[in-house]
Structures are given as C-alpha cells and as structure tokens.
C-alpha cells in the first residue's frame, strides 16, 4: 500500500498529519488512558481489557474463597453502640460476691457486655485473694438450668404481675388473721437487704427472719455471748500470730473466711534467703479428724477422733493454765501427741498466740475462749469489737422454724437463697411439712430441692446481674453492681419483697438511699453523689474504725463448760466414728451445678466428681476395705452408700464424708454426683454437729472408682522434684534442703546445668518467668479455676478424670511423706499414717531447652523471643510426642471435641454456657495439644497498652491468671530482664537460697522457679540431705 499512489486515510486527522494523531498512530485505541491514569483499579477511574480480566479473576477467586469460609453464625453488629463499650476492649467493674455468707471483694471483667472473668479486688479490704468458688461463680451466671422466669406450681408461663397479685392477696389475708410469716435465708451480709426485710416486717408485723448456715458456727457465736456477752463471730488476725493452734478448724479451707485467713497467715510463713531477710515463721499446730487443707499445711498435726476433740481443748486449757496461772478445770486424761509442745509454744508466744476451734459446740468454744483469754489473744489476734458477719446463722432458731412448719404454725414462708430441704439435717421433715404452709415462696434461681416444693418461685438473678451491698466485717461496706443486663426474666428478691410490702422503690434506688442514710454518715467525704460514685467505682467503702477489741475479758463459766465437755466427749472410744466435713471446692453444695467446681480436684484427696467415705490406711486394712469398695455407712438407720477413699492422715477408727454432694434438683452437672451427707448430721443441744457419733460401715460388694487427678501420693524421695527443709536448718543455711546436682567431668565437678548441647536463647526485650513459693502455697486450688476461667479450659467429666485426662493447665501436685527408707522403692510408694504434706503448683515450666520443642515434627511448639514456650494449635497434628517428652507432664491433649458434644454436656455444650468463653483465647479443637501459655494473651495486651501509651511495660502491668488468683501471693510473675521487677528482686534474694528449678539435672532450664518449702519443725526431724553426684 505504501507504494501505491492511492492513499486511504482513516480520517481528516491522518490526512492533515496532526501532531496528536501521529503520536497515537501506533495504538489501537487512540484515546486510551495512559498507564498511570488507570493505576487504581478499584476507585472507578476506569479500566481496560486486562483490568477486566483481573477483576474477573479476582471476583472468581473472591467468590470461591468466600464460599470456602466457615459460615459466621450470629455475628450481630451494634446498631447503637453502648456508651463506653468498645469491641475487643474489656470493661472492669468492682463488685462483691456474697453467697450464703461467703464474701469476696471482686473485680468483674466484661467483654462486649458479658462478664468473662472474676479477679480479686485488691483494694485493701483484708479479703485478699478469692477462692475457687468465687472464680467459678462466674459460670453460675451462665447456668442453662436456671428458671427463665417466675413459676407458680408447675406453671412457668405466669407473669410477674399475676404472681405479685396472688402473693399480695394471700399476704393480705395472712396479715389480716395475724398468721405467722417467716423469711428463711442463709447468712445475709447485706445491710440493705436486712433493711428491706425490716420494711417488709413493718408492713407485715408477724414476719420473722431466720438465718441458718449449712456449715454453722452458731456454737462459736453462742460461746462468745456466754464468755463476753457479745453474740458475734470476732475478727481474727492471723497475720499477727506466732503460734496458732487449730482444733478441727479448717481456717484455710472452709472456716468462716478461709481465703482471708490464709492470706493473713501466709504473711507469717513467708521467709527470705537474703542476709537480713525474714527468717522467722509462725508455727501451726492442728488437731483434727480428717486431713483438712489446713491440717495438711500444719507444722505439727495430730489426728484425733471427733469424740476426743472437746477433751483436747480442755487438756490444752489445763496445760496453758498451768503455765499462765489460770485455774485448772476437770478434764479426762487424754494422750495427744504434740499437745504439750503446743501449749508451751502458745504460752511462749503469749500475745501473739491464737487458738481456733471448728467444733460447733458452745461448751468447747467457751473453753477455747478461756485459753485465748489466758494467752492475751483478745485485742491482739482476736477482735471482738470488729465482728465478722460472714456467719450469722442461728441453729436454734432454725430448729424452731422446722418445728413451727411441722406444727403447721407457719402461714407464709419465704426462702431467700437457702435450700434447707437439701442442706439441713432435718430437711426431710421440712420437705414433708412444706405443703402445710399456705403461702410458700422461693427466691432461688432454680427449682431446687426446697423450691420445687414451694407454691411460687420468684427467681432472683445471679449476683453479677444484681444490685446489692454487703457488710462482711464491721466497718467494711461493699457494693455489688450488675455487670450484665438480666439474662432471664428474673427479679431480685429484695425488689419482690419491697413490692409486696407496697414500697415504690426499686432496689438500686433503695441501696443508694440506704447508703446515704447509714453508710455516708460514717465519715463519707464530699457530696453524696461523688461518695456513691467513688464507692461504686471502688466496690468498697471502709468506714473509719474505732474498735480496737482490747479489753474484752473472758467472763464465761469455764468449769460448767468443762463439765459439759466431760459429758459429751470420751478419752477413749473404740467404735467407728463419723465425721462430716466441708470440701474446699464444693463448699456446702449450693453451687454444685457448676462443672468447674465439680471437676476441681479437692486439694488434699485430689478427687473430684464424687464424695466418698474416707478412712485411714490402718482402718482400711483393719476392715478389709480397698479404695473404691462401695460401703454402706449407717448412722442410726440413716444410711448412705459411698465408695471408700483411703486417706493418709485420717484419724484411725473414723469415717469422714464431705457435705455438698448428692444434689437431686440442681441440674445436670450436680444431680446424682455423690451422696447427701447432711441427713447424717445431728444436733447437740440445738447446735448443728458434724460429728454425729458412731456408725456401722459394711461393704455392699459394689465397686465405684474414685475419680482422682493424682493417683500416686508420695514423692518417692525425689529431691530434684520437691525440696524442703525445716526452719532451724534454713536459719543456719538458706541452701538447706536444696538439691544441687553435680556432674564430674574432665574439668572437675561442675553443676549439671553447666553442660549443654544447646546455645540457649537470647531475650533482648522481656524474659517472662514465674516464681512459686512452696512455703506460702497452701494448695487451695483457686489458681486452677482462675486458669480454667481465663483460658477456656473444657470440663471433661468424671469418667475422663478416671481415665487421667483432665485438661487443667494448672494443677497442684500434692505429695505425702513416707516413713520408708529411701532405698526402699516399694515402701516409698506408701504414705505415712500421718504424713507431712506438700503442695506444688505445676504448670508449663517454659523450658529454655524445651524437650517438647525439639520433638514436634511440624514446629507446632516453638520458643518465643520472650522466654515463652508457645503452642500453635493450628499447626498441631497431634502426635503427642511433646506430651510424652515433657518431664513435667503439663501438656494436655484434646482426646475428643469438648464443645458442642453431647458426651460432654457441660458449659461448652450450650449457647448460654459458651458465653463464659474468653474471646482472647482460642477454643481448642480435637486432636491438638494444649498447655499453659503463661497467659500470653495478657502479656500481649499489656505490651500493647504500654505501646499505645508510649512507654515500656512496667512491673505489675501484667499478671497471669494463676498469680492473680492466689490468695497468698505464692506465685510471682514478671519480667526477669527488668531488674526492678518483683520477680527479679525475689530471685536475686533467693538465687543463692531457696530458688530451685524442678528436675534441675536434666537441664531443661525452666523459666519457672520454686522456693523451698520450710516447715517450722524441730531440726531433729529433718533428714540429712547430701548433695548427690552423678557418676
């Protein structure tokens, strides 16, 4: 064409040879945008053909990817975001836990409007640390088996209006005829609630309020009335004691305010290896029947039959009186080991001594008061003027009420939280008589044993949904505030009572008004609104205290008490005696439908999901019983069948049964677990007695395995596992009791840790670690539940515990001493009859030379740059080699899918129960390994917060769940690279002293250290510990 004469042109532009045309001549589309023009594909500036293909390709990929994604269920965004609520950010509320008199000052962590964690409110209330039951109470909020709304008879469709109308009508009739109205509850700590009851009583003057406690200290209250004219439970100050003698008082486990006492007492047990550090400890004697949590921590412990306990007290009185110039009392001769020594130490520690007694018998308690009087404890370790209100139950009044109901004298009965049909020894009588009551109303959250027999149930919400206040101790006012809006159609009991009394207030306003009237006036600062806001923010208001408690002089009749003791107690008793006791985790059974608590191993026996007949090793062999044999325990025709638990330390010739089990109408997790032992309790002069007397025990021929998380009791003399000493030796040498492995090499003898294949890790930033003080850890198990709640640990149930498959990341190993020679490996398996007990919390040790990390084929477990041994659940294929190779056996395998699985019908199997899940922690799928992450989610959060605030992480910014749960601060967490951190300071003190790594000789170099256990025993009891050399 080029050479042709004839020219075709595409347009005038070509003909004219425009500059623009020439420039574009080569391109297909003359007005195509330049490359830079359509760089942005998505902002709509245009597209070309290739972009079209790109978009098409992307679209296809996106659509197919979206199709692959797991469907998102029920993710509903906020239409109107609540003020102060930010997704992914936690809100904290100060509140109070009050449950049947148990009290804890708490902080509630909420995420997206739901409470997910309870932590102690460390504001100086004295109630430091919170127990396992308090941690677990969170799950009670999401209990799927609570009533959804009011219930009349079997009708759950009734409205509050109709219920109110009917109840008020009936109340009106009863009031008109002057019929008796009774309100029955456990201890009520709330002054406002009491005020509501007072208002109700004002409206219906025939009303009487009766309080009782399932595990009562009514005898103590009575004794104080007899001795000092003050019918109170005094406040005890264990932080001031030098010698404490406890006669059957489980003051660290179940007596009055155990976590508070444990926290105070731990301060007297803390020692330091530093040169001028504290090298002195209190000494603790325990005389008791079952090996209680407190007894297992005692320096000297003597097993005594229940029928001898009173005589131990009077014998102790005589011994103390002989030394302090008190008059002696008549007492049968009784030979009890360590009693003389205890008396000597008590007298030596006069003014810093304390005798406590858990026997609910006023006579015994009067003698105890007398001993404390002789020792000058009043005003120092006991303060009668600042009473503790956590146990106010009156056994005598309760018994009268049962009689009244039986006699048909009660026209209206209101039950607030209490469950007497279940937890009162005369529950069966009450159950039979309840239909006689014209108007019976329960405020309980479910149709439990008592409520199901009542005509109306007006369910009250969980305390985390409620307004309330509490007065656990004179001068200490605390508030409970709702942390979530009502889950079900429930109404607080106080609101109901107010309504029925014709008051207009709602309870929130009522509490506020009550505080203005009664609390603000006790030295409240500023205007009332700011006082209220501050109190609500803090959760507590501590009124300035004036009471010193000094000058309470004992004025009781100790001779009469001694005479009464002489009648009830016997120095020698041959029969098999029954002792009931309260289990540390389960308590009195009111929270039994809580799978976390059911699965919490009882600290001493390490058993869960059952109660049992505990007998000593000697008695077991004498009777021919083996663990798991089902026996029939028969007390005067009242019999229950339970499996045998052989328990070292139990008094010979006794059988002990835990209360709190055998619920029938509590829910799936509780019903049928164990047997109810309350019916076996008796009354001694009207006071509840957990030592009813002699029983017959016979084998039934059945067998029921006891579910224990630890089945081997002794430590087999493994000094690299457990290192302990006695105070005398420790004072001489902080390294006493330490096991320091040495290895001879060609360069001489070196520490085992000096030889390594590995290069170690370099931690440039942080080096997270923990120190566990075996001296202050008393084994309560609070950390176990704290960890379970923080880290979404599933509940596996009784059978899986029997199969040794519990999932707890944090466990507390409990070891008994053995009498056998160290060479006798068979003999070492058998615990002493009355063993020394050591508790050792075990979690992932975050080894620097981690055996688990090298063996994982897929690198699912790796080391972080901050000293953590990390587990990547997503990468795990589940070979379990890491778990096998873990010398501490802290790794847990998901044998099954533990959520949405009907075989594990606990909180992870229903939508409500799953609300407790911490959104920061993955719920693990089946087939993967999991373990303690040292709460890495908290570490990350703390680091991010610090980063946002443009600072470095300070010590105390971050705390792990177990450490914050510990009532005695036995666990110290922190950054070992920060020389100012508590952990660094502690390790600096203890590195040449008590600090040791468990299994040091295998040189895995954990980030977790332990501090030697020191017992305040005489040095001669200590066995020689020679450093062992390896050939």
């Amino acid at each position: 064409m080029k050479n042709s004469d004839k020219r075709y042109w595409r347009g005038l532009e070509e003909l004219r040879n425009d500059e623009k045309f020439v420039k574009n001549a080569g391109s297909e589309f003359a007005d195509a945008p330049t490359d830079t023009q359509y760089e942005s594909l998505v902002d709509g500036t245009g597209s070309n053909r290739r972009d079209f293909l790109k978009v098409l390709g992307f679209g296809m990929a996106a659509v197919s990817l979206a199709a692959c994604e797991t469907p998102v269920k029920k993710a509903i965004p906020y239409v109107n975001k609540p003020a102060g609520e930010f997704p992914t950010l936690a809100n904290w509320y100060a509140s109070s836990y009050t449950e049947g008199g148990d009290f804890a000052s708490i902080l509630v962590k909420t995420r997206e409007g739901r409470p997910i964690k309870i932590e102690p409110n460390d504001i100086g209330t004295g109630f430091t640390g919170i127990g396992a039951r308090v941690h677990a109470s969170l799950l009670g909020l999401y209990d799927n088996e609570k009533l959804r709304g009011p219930k009349k008879g079997d009708d759950t469709k009734v409205s509050w209006e109709s219920v109110d109308k009917e109840i008020m009508a009936q109340l009106g009739q009863i009031a008109a005829k002057g019929g008796a109205i009774r309100i029955l509850s456990n201890t009520i700590l709330s002054p406002s609630t009491k005020s509501v009851i007072a208002d109700f009583t004002a409206k219906y003057p025939t009303t009487q309020h009766v309080m009782y406690d399932a595990n009562s200290v009514s005898g103590l209250i009575k004794a104080n009335e007899l001795s000092f004219g003050k019918a109170v439970v005094p406040s005890y100050d264990f932080s001031k004691v030098k010698t404490v003698v406890s006669i059957a008082a489980d003051f660290q486990g179940s007596w009055i305010a155990p976590e508070m006492f444990a926290g105070q007492f731990a301060e007297t047990r803390r020692v330091s290896s530093s040169k001028d550090g504290k090298k002195d400890m209190s000494r603790h004697y325990q005389f008791e029947t079952t090996l209680s949590l407190t007894g297992s921590n005692a320096d000297y412990r003597t097993a005594v039959k229940p029928s001898q306990l009173g005589l131990v007290v009077s014998a102790l009185y005589n011994k103390v009186a002989a030394k302090t110039g008190g008059k002696s009392i008549s007492s049968a001769n009784i030979d009890v080991a360590h009693l003389d020594k205890a008396a000597n130490d008590l007298v030596a520690a006069k003014g810093q001594a304390l005798v406590v007694c858990g026997v609910n018998d006023p006579s015994v308690q009067v003698v105890v008061n007398a001993i404390n009087g002789l020792l000058g404890s009043y005003g120092s370790t006991i303060n009668l003027d600042a009473p503790s209100y956590t146990r106010q139950g009156n056994d005598v009044a309760m018994n009268q009420l049962v009689d009244e109901v039986k006699g048909g004298k009660v026209d209206a009965l209101f039950v607030m939280g209490a469950n007497p049909v279940y937890d009162h020894p005369r529950g069966a009588e009450l159950a039979a008589a309840l239909p006689k009551v014209g108007l019976s109303v329960s405020f309980n959250d479910r149709a439990d044993e008592t409520s199901s027999l009542m005509k109306f149930i007006c369910p009250a919400p969980h305390y985390l949904e409620s307004w309330n206040d509490a007065l656990p101790k004179a001068g200490l006012y605390t508030l409970t505030q709702p942390t979530i809006s009502l889950v079900f159609n429930t109404r607080q009991a106080q609101t109901s009572l107010l309504k029925w009394a014709g008051a207009k207030d709602d309870y929130h306003e009522y509490v506020k008004a009550n505080w203005r009237k009664n609390v603000y006036t006790q030295g409240g600062k500023g205007d009332y609104e700011s006082f209220w806001v501050k109190s609500l923010h803090d959760g507590v208001y501590m009124a300035p205290s004036t009471a010193t408690g000094a000058g309470s002089t004992f004025a009781g009749d100790v001779d009469a008490a001694a005479a009464a003791i002489g009648k009830t107690y016997k120095a020698t008793a041959s029969g098999l005696e029954l002792a009931l006791y309260e289990n540390v985790g389960m308590g009195n059974g009111s929270a039994a439908n809580n799978p976390w608590l059911q699965e919490l191993p009882e600290p001493v026996t390490k058993a869960c999901w059952d109660n049992f007949a505990m007998i000593s090793q000697f008695t077991a062999s004498e009777l021919g019983f083996a663990q798991g044999d089902v026996v029939k325990v028969d007390f005067k025709g009242k019999a229950i069948e339970l499996p045998v638990m052989v328990q070292p330390g139990q008094a010979n010739g006794t059988v002990a049964i835990a209360i709190g089990y055998g619920r029938e109408k509590a829910g799936k997790s509780a019903d049928g677990v164990g047997k109810n032992a309350y019916p076996l309790a008796t009354f001694n002069n009207g006071f509840l007695s957990f030592a009813p007397g002699e029983v017959t025990v016979a084998k039934t021929g059945d067998f029921r395995e006891v579910a224990q998380t630890q089945t081997h009791g002794t430590v087999m003399n493994r000094k690299s596992v457990l290192q302990e000493t006695v105070l005398g030796q420790f004072q001489k040498d902080p390294l006493a009791g330490r096991f320091i492995p040495k290895i001879p090499t060609s360069d001489g003898v070196v520490d085992a840790t000096n030889l390594s294949l590995w290069n170690g890790h370099e931690y440039k930033n942080h080096s997270w670690g923990m120190v566990v003080d075996l001296n202050t850890c008393y084994g309560c198990g609070s950390c176990v539940i704290g960890c379970q709640s923080e880290n979404n640990i599933p509940v596996v149930g009784r059978q899986e515990i029997i199969n040794s498959r519990e999932m707890h990341w944090m466990r507390i190993d409990r070891y008994y001493s053995s009498d056998a020679d160290v060479e006798d490996l068979r003999g070492l398996e058998i615990a002493s009859e009355n063993p020394e007990v050591t508790f050792q919390p075990m979690m992932c040790q975050h080894c620097n030379n981690a055996p688990c990390e090298t063996v994982c084929p897929v690198l699912a477990t790796t080391h972080s740059s901050e000293g953590l041994n990390q587990m990547t659940y997503n990468r795990c294929v589940g070979t379990r080699y890491c778990a096998n190779n873990c010398p501490y056996k802290v790794r847990r395998f998901n044998w099954f899918k533990y959520f949405d699985n009907d075989n594990f019908d606990y909180n992870f199997n229903n939508d409500l129960g799953k609300m407790v899940i911490n959104p920061e922690v993955t719920v693990r799928s089946r087939g993967v390994i999991e373990k303690c992450s040292m709460c890495v989610q908290r570490i990350q959060e703390g680091k991010l917060t610090a980063k946002r605030e443009r600072r470095t992480v300070k010590d105390g910014d971050i705390n792990v769940a177990c450490a914050s749960a510990c009532p005695t601060n036995a666990i110290t967490f922190g950054d070992m690279n920060d020389s100012e951190s508590r952990i660094s300071k502690l390790l600096a003190e203890e590195i040449e002293g008590r600090a040791f790594h468990m299994l040091e000789e295998i040189n895995v170099r954990p980030q977790v250290s332990y501090l030697t256990k020191v017992r305040n025993k005489d040095a001669k009891a200590a066995k020689e510990v020679a450093p062992k050399e390896h050939a």
């Binding site: 630890q710 089945t711 081997h712 009791g713 002794t714 430590v715 087999m716 493994r718 596992v721 899986e800 199969n803 040794s804 498959r805 519990e806 466990r811 190993d813 409990r814 070891y815 490996l825 068979r826 050792q840 075990m842 055996p851 090298t854 063996v855 994982c856 084929p857 897929v858 690198l859 990468r875 795990c876 294929v877 589940g878 070979t879 379990r880 080699y881 778990a883 096998n884 190779n885 010398p887 501490y888 056996k889 790794r891 847990r892 395998f893 998901n894 044998w895 099954f896 899918k897 799928s925 089946r926 087939g927 993967v928 390994i929 299994l999 295998i1002 895995v1004 050399e1029 390896h1030 050939a1031």
Partner: protein
C-alpha cells in the same frame, strides 16, 4: 560363580528340574483359588472389616476412644507401629544383605519375605496416620513447599526422620520386590491361557524378553538395589529407635537403642517369615523349596538376634544401676517389679529364653516347635515395645502424674485392622503372584543338585519315564500336557 559347598544339603530338594520349578510355583497362580485360601481370605476380610469399623470410629470420634491418657500418650499405637516396622526388616535383610553375602538359601524365601516387608510397612504406616490427633493434616510432616510462609518441618524431630526413613524404606523395598518379580511375571505371562491374565501379567512384566542382556541388567539392578537397601536395614530401625532415644524420658533416653532395635527387628522379622513360610510351604506343597535347611538357618538367625536382644536388655539394667541416675534406675526397677511386671516378664521369657531353645538341633529342626517359638517371639517383641513405651511413660519424673494405661476395644480393634490389612494383602499376593522367586531358584538348582537324583518327580519324571533317557532338563511343551 554359583558355588555351593558340597557338604551342604541341597537347597532345593526333590530333584527339581527348571520345568518343575515353574510348574510347582505357577500352579497356584494359574489355578483356581483353593478352599483353604478362600477360608483364610474370608477370615482376613472379616478381620479387616471389623478393624476398619474400629478405625473409622477412632477417626470419627477422636483418639479418646483409645485408653491413652495425659501421662501415657503413646501405647498400642506406637507399639504396633514399631512392631510392624520391625517385622518388615527380615524381608530386606534376606533380599539385600543375604544377596550381597551370596547366601543362596535366601532364594526360596526372599520373595515372600519382601512381600511381607511391604505389607508390614503398610501396616506400620497405618499406625503413623492413626496415632495422629488430626490425621487429615498428616501431610504437614512432609517438607512440602507451602503457602504458610516459611513454615517447614522440624528437622530436629525424630518423627520427621521417621517419615523419611519409612517412606524411603517402603519405596526401595517396593521397587526391589517389583524388579525381582519381573522375570517371574514374564513366565506367567508366557504361560497364561486367558487374555486378561496375559494382558495383566504382561503389563507388569514390562516387556521382559529373557535375553542375556535383559538378564544382565536384571542382575545389575538387583545388586544396586541390594546395595541401596542394605543401609536401610540398619537405618530404619535405628531411626525408629531414635523416636525414643532422643527423648528425656527415663527408659527411653538410651544410647544402646539403635543396635538393640535393629537386632530386635530382625529377630521378630525372621520369626514372622517363619510363621508365614511354614504355612505357605504346607498349603502350597513347597516343602522341596522351603526345606528344613531353610528353617534351621532362619532359626539360627533368630537365636543370634535373640541373644543380641537379651544382652541389650541386661546391659540396660546394668547401666540403669551403674549410672546412678535415680530416675533411670527407677524406670528399670519399675519395669521389673512395677504394675506392668507381667509385660516385662512376658518379654523376657519370650525374647530371651525361648530363642535359646534353638541351640538344640532337634528343636530347631522341628517344624511345629519352630512355628510355636516364632509366634512366641513375635508376642515377646510386641511386649518389648509395649514395655519400653508404656512402662517408661507411665511412671516418669513426677510421681504426681503417674498413671496406668489399659487398652479399650478400639486399641484392640485398630490393631486387628493392621492384621486384617496385612493378611488380606499377603493372601492376595500368595494367590496372584509367585510366592517363590522362580528365576532365582532356578539359578541355584544346578549348583545344588549336579546330577539328577534317582528319585525324580514332577514333569521331569513324566518325560523321564516316557523317553527312558537321562535327559535332565526337558524342554517344556505345554501342548503335550
């Protein structure tokens, strides 16, 4: 080159000719399945079916259906795995090491032993998959390029070495076995009467033409593969033993494990070969090929390796005491006297005492006794792995974690699965493939029976009678039969 010491008994008895060999061995491949085979196969399928059900449930429900727990994370799964891998070793030893050592007697048994190896490794591999919590992620143990960033396998982990060891072992064994099969497949192809057989065997014979060049290449490749397999005989079980030896668990952390495991593997492997061959020779009437000589020789290997294993057991105990490590000492004390004492003593009795009985010539030439002891040895070797795995784990460092293991029906069912799999495959092999390497047996006939014995049998006898001449190797004429 094929020289056999004249004082030795002939390796093949009954005066077999080349044609006899072909006929004797091909007969089972070509004929209809026998009643015995059908019964055995039926039982195997039943066991496999039940095992598959148990396996399916294990995978569906999770490993919780087994009896494992927080302390004992491996029990029957890895016991079975090591046991099957161990059994596999005899095949490779026979086909590779004995080939290199020119042990002619191996020719009658190597085919079946190699087949056993392959099926045993398959059975073992099934436990690798089975024991994983998430078996569908098993491919993560392979160093595959992936889209997960720099995520790779952990080359420190003995489990990764295991993956390499087992997969290498399996592929080399399979190739070796298959190459060895080719001349025999060609024989069957040439004899095949049905089109399907001719096609199938022909396909797998890969155009074998029997020329001198082909034979020469065949010989070379056999030697090369034998050379490749030889280190595997030692390495595979060495690496398997490192699954334990590199750990920190007392009772596992032992440097003696590699030789001890290899000896144990050969020990149990030969016992399994004995079991299989003693049945096969009777059912297929191959007594002339698998002679008392073979049985006796294998029994000697069993006694040798059994003694090595016994010495290893005693050494372990000595070291446990001599080391002064309390955990190590306790682990062995516990093995002997702890709750699993019966497993330990079962192992000692079966593995240390029973093979010593073969010092008696009478006993080691007794077929019934050999069969019995072979079963005992395999029971003992299973217990050996059980003892090492379970009794070491169940009481390790912290007494608080001590626990007991007891199997559930799924532990047992999944073990049965591996038996079902193994025997189903072995029975299929014994029916559809020549159980004795005809080509190699033919190579030893000439040297071991130089002259036609007086008593002759088989095809040769027929021809001998017909022609009444001492023609030793008649050409086989199929049409005349």
């Amino acid at each position: 080159m094929h020289v056999t010491s004249p004082v030795r008994e002939p390796l093949v008895q009954g005066g077999k000719t080349y044609a006899d060999v072909t006929e004797d061995i091909c007969r089972h491949v070509e004929g209809a399945p026998t009643k015995e085979w059908k019964i055995a196969f039926g039982i195997s399928l039943l066991v496999l079916g039940y095992g598959s059900y148990c396996l399916a449930w294990t995978w569906w429900e999770g490993l919780g259906v087994w009896g494992l727990n927080k302390t004992v994370g491996w029990a029957w799964d890895i016991t079975n795995f090591v046991w099957w891998v161990g059994i596999g070793h005899a095949g490779t030893l026979i086909s590779a090491i004995l080939l290199l050592f020119r042990q002619k007697w191996r020719t009658s048994i190597n085919r079946a032993a190699e087949a056993m190896t392959i099926f045993a490794v398959l059975a073992a591999a099934s436990f690798i998959l089975m024991h994983m919590g998430r078996p569908w992620m098993a491919y993560w143990a392979l160093p595959l390029p992936n889209a997960f960033g720099s995520l790779w396998v952990n080359f420190n982990s003995p489990l990764v070495w295991d993956v390499f060891a087992i997969s290498t072992y399996f592929s080399v064994s399979l190739v070796f076995w298959y190459i060895g099969l080719i001349p025999d497949l060609a024989t069957i192809r040439d004899r095949a009467t049905s089109k399907v057989s001719r096609l199938m065997y022909g396909l797998f014979a890969m155009g074998w033409d029997g020329s001198a060049k082909t034979w020469s290449r065949y010989e070379y490749i056999s030697l090369i593969l034998a050379g490749l397999s030889t280190p595997l005989v030692l390495s595979v079980h060495t690496i398997v033993s490192m699954d334990f030896a590199t750990s920190v668990i007392p009772g596992w952390h032992t440097t003696i494990f590699p030789p001890y495991f290899v000896a144990g593997a050969i020990f149990s492997g030969f016992a399994m070969v004995q079991n299989l061959m003693l049945i096969t020779r009777v059912v297929y009437r191959l007594e002339d090929y698998i002679t008392l000589e073979h049985i006796e020789t294998m029994n000697k290997v069993i006694t040798l390796t059994g003694s090595v294993v016994g010495v290893a057991y005693i050494t372990e105990f000595f070291i446990a005491w001599y080391s002064g490590v309390e955990y190590e000492y306790y682990a062995f004390f516990n093995r002997m006297t702890g709750p699993y004492w019966w497993a330990y003593w079962a192992m000692m009795t079966c593995n240390v005492i029973s093979p010593q009985l073969f010092w008696s010539r009478k006993l080691r030439r007794s077929i019934t006794f050999t069969f019995f002891i072979s079963v005992i040895v395999n029971i003992g070797m299973w217990f050996e792995r059980f003892v090492i795995i379970v009794t070491s784990l169940h009481r390790d460092y912290l007494p608080s974690s001590w626990a007991m293991f007891s199997p559930t029906m799924y532990d047992i069912g999944d073990y049965l699965f591996s038996f079902g799999l193994f025997f189903t495959l072995f029975l299929l092999f014994s029916k559809y493939l020549p159980v004795i390497n005809m080509a190699e047996v033919k190579a030893v006939i000439r040297s071991t029976s130089a002259e036609l014995p007086k008593k002759i049998a088989g095809v040769a006898k027929v021809r001998h009678d017909l022609n009444n001449v001492g023609q030793r190797v008649p050409s086989y004429d199929k049409d005349k039969e």
